[in-house]
């Protein structure tokens, strides 16, 4: 458009070269770094614990288990310890970390708010409440899927409630979102307390386990449930990525650009519920993963969702893997609840984000 000569000239004079999209180098470095760290930590983590196993030995056992090597084990019990206890736990950490982190990323996109997170807004506690109901009323005996299903339904309902309650005019205000989270968390805590009161000792212990969050006792059977849920959800998340980007403009503008806002919103809410509940049903409430990881990843590769979802999945997996390693090994002979750890780190982080957000947006919004 040459009609605006004066402004066009000014633009040329001061213009940075247009081919300055976020450097691909940074992206490559991030993905390589996260992948390498994930593998290294997985091997190291598998070797640590009461029975110390060298990373090389872990690797051999891994190959043996997959039928790729027939070198004999150097010590007894190595294969048993790794394959029945540590490997499933590591795989669970990776899957659940990825699930929670991607759930946070999607939630932040549809809520158009960087503070939305399944734990913070109460979806996790809602899901835990659903799971607790099946425990106290003895419905768990039938199948692993019952608890997962109940926590999914409760989580889905909670996500809907939070979504409807905290939105106005196509955006979510921070205050409303946080207050809605407080209300939902309070209600869920009350419900859990009631169930704890009603339940027998065994159920009580299980409910407490849920509230604190732990990867202790992960089994392959559970992974068989989580893995397909996470895999399918991730595929959907990638498909939605471009449209989630447009939500940053506000729902009205997204619609003007051809996005079927209602459909994307519903699919996203279901994805958040599936991912959160897959995690909660087997590991309890692990908060803040979905808050910290996407935020850090955005700082490195920017907010475009295609890259962000992949990076968040890797980053979440790594974070939970490391957190679980700490949970298992920080105190000798004790297994700390991992939800407690993520909250201890995530709470202050949330506070910092909140303050930054307030400053950045020129007030609460």
């Amino acid at each position: 458009m040459t009609r605006l000569e004066s402004s066009a000239d000014a633009a040329v004079a001061t213009s940075a070269p247009l081919e300055t999209r976020r450097s691909t180098g940074r992206r490559v470095a991030l993905f390589t770094g996260l992948s390498v760290a994930l593998v290294v930590f997985a091997l190291v983590s598998a070797g640590m614990g009461q029975l110390q196993i060298a990373p090389g030995e872990v690797w051999n056992s891994l190959l043996r288990g997959l039928g790729l090597s027939d070198a004999p084990a150097t010590a007894p019990h190595v294969d048993a310890a790794l394959w029945t206890i540590r490997f499933p736990r590591i795989v669970a950490a990776i899957l659940i970390g990825a699930a929670l982190s991607v759930a946070g990323t999607i939630m932040q996109a549809v809520f158009a708010n960087p503070l939305a997170e399944p734990g913070v807004v109460g979806v996790s506690s809602g899901a835990a409440l659903g799971a607790a109901v099946t425990i106290v009323f003895g419905l768990t005996a039938t199948s692993d899927w019952v608890t997962a299903g109940a926590s999914f339904l409760a989580g889905l309902a909670t996500t809907m409630v939070v979504y409807l309650a905290s939105r106005s005019g196509g955006r979510t205000e921070v205050v409303t979102l946080v207050l809605t989270g407080i209300a939902v968390n309070a209600f869920a805590a009350g419900g859990l307390a009631l169930l704890t009161f009603l339940g027998d000792t065994a159920s009580r212990e299980e409910i407490i386990f849920w509230q604190l969050g732990s990867l202790n006792g992960s089994r392959w059977q559970e992974i068989g449930v989580i893995a397909p849920l996470v895999a399918v959800s991730l595929v959907f998340a990638f498909v939605l990525a471009r449209q989630l980007d447009l939500f940053s403009l506000g729902e009205r503008s997204a619609r003007h650009l051809g996005v079927n806002v209602e459909r994307v919103r519903i699919v996203s809410i279901v994805l958040v519920a599936v991912l959160t509940c897959a995690a909660v049903a087997f590991a309890g409430i692990i908060s803040f993963v979905g808050l910290i990881v996407p935020h850090l990843m955005r700082m490195v590769i920017g907010p475009a969702h295609r890259g962000l979802i992949a990076a968040s999945a890797l980053g979440g997996a790594l974070l939970l893997l490391v957190a679980d390693l700490v949970a298992r090994t920080a105190v000798p002979m004790a297994d700390l609840p991992i939800g407690m750890l993520t909250s201890l780190v995530g709470g202050p982080f949330f506070f910092w984000l909140l303050r930054r957000q307030r400053k950045g947006a020129g007030g609460w919004r």
């Binding site: 009609r3 247009l18 503008s253 003007h256």
Partner: protein, 254 residues
């Protein structure tokens, strides 16, 4: 490609936001919507955009009711600049303008993306902001980036809700020159404005709204008379002819 509203009314809780409004945006013309606060300008624009379904009457885009248009095809045909320009997350200006190309993804027009984005950013004078996060920009800069996104959409019907709000003198003129340029290329342009003189200078036609009704429609000189402006806005004005161009100049009596 014309966009026509036929006898549109919008009623919410017995409040009549629009009453029996008819309106036509015609290719090659800049059509301004004027009126005091609360007259229904933005409501009419949102009806034209398809955001709001009128309680009665209908909106037709190229001989097809607006409601029958698939969203993506609609997005290739009409673009909307809303009054809200804020962006969540630190997307950079260029990324925002790129979003304007979304309706063309996976079509042959996708090949033109880079050219269209640069054209739009040059026209709105935001090329030098390409790498800046939109969240860090001033209000006027944000508005221009949003306008660049709308232009990059390359649709023949443009709906602009107060595109000059928050802009300085030169950029106000730039935006309306741009609207004229788009009309010269055959686009139908609808602009909601508050500045009567901008409207007088750049519009082919003006629709003046008051309390949800059309009080006047026509060429600027016919619509903007001193008596009518006083009656609608409640502010006495003098209307004189611009000594050089002859367009009406509206001067509040002070």
């Amino acid at each position: 490609m014309s966009l026509v509203a036929e006898n549109v009314s919008v009623t919410i809780d017995r409040a009549h936001l629009l009453t029996d409004v008819s309106f036509a945006a015609i290719p090659g013309r800049v059509h301004s919507l004027l009126g005091p606060n609360g007259a229904g300008k933005s409501t009419l624009l949102s009806v034209l955009a398809g955001d709001r379904v009128p309680s009665s009457g209908r909106v037709v885009l190229r001989d097809r009711p607006l409601a029958d248009w698939p969203l993506r095809e609609l997005a290739r045909t009409r673009a909307v600049l809303t009054q809200e320009h804020s962006v969540t997350f630190s997307f950079r200006s260029r990324e925002i303008v790129e979003m304007g190309r979304h309706p063309w993804a996976r079509t042959s027009a996708e090949d033109d993306d880079d050219r269209e984005i640069e054209r739009a950013m040059t026209a709105t004078d935001v090329s030098h902001l390409a790498d800046r996060p939109v969240a860090d920009l001033s209000g006027g800069e944000k508005a221009r980036v949003a306008l660049a996104r709308v232009l990059a959409q390359r649709s023949p019907v443009l709906l602009l809700d107060e595109p000059t709000a928050a802009l300085d003198l030169r950029h106000q003129e730039d935006v309306l020159r741009l609207a004229r340029a788009q009309a010269a290329e055959g686009d139908a342009v609808v602009v909601v404005l508050h500045d009567l003189n901008l409207a007088a200078a750049y519009s082919d036609e003006i629709t003046l709204l008051e309390r949800g009704r059309v009080v006047a429609h026509g060429a600027p000189a016919d619509v903007l008379t001193a008596d009518r402006i006083k009656a609608v806005y409640g502010q006495p004005v003098d209307v004189i002819e611009h000594p050089r161009t002859g367009v009406p100049l509206v001067l509040p009596v002070r």
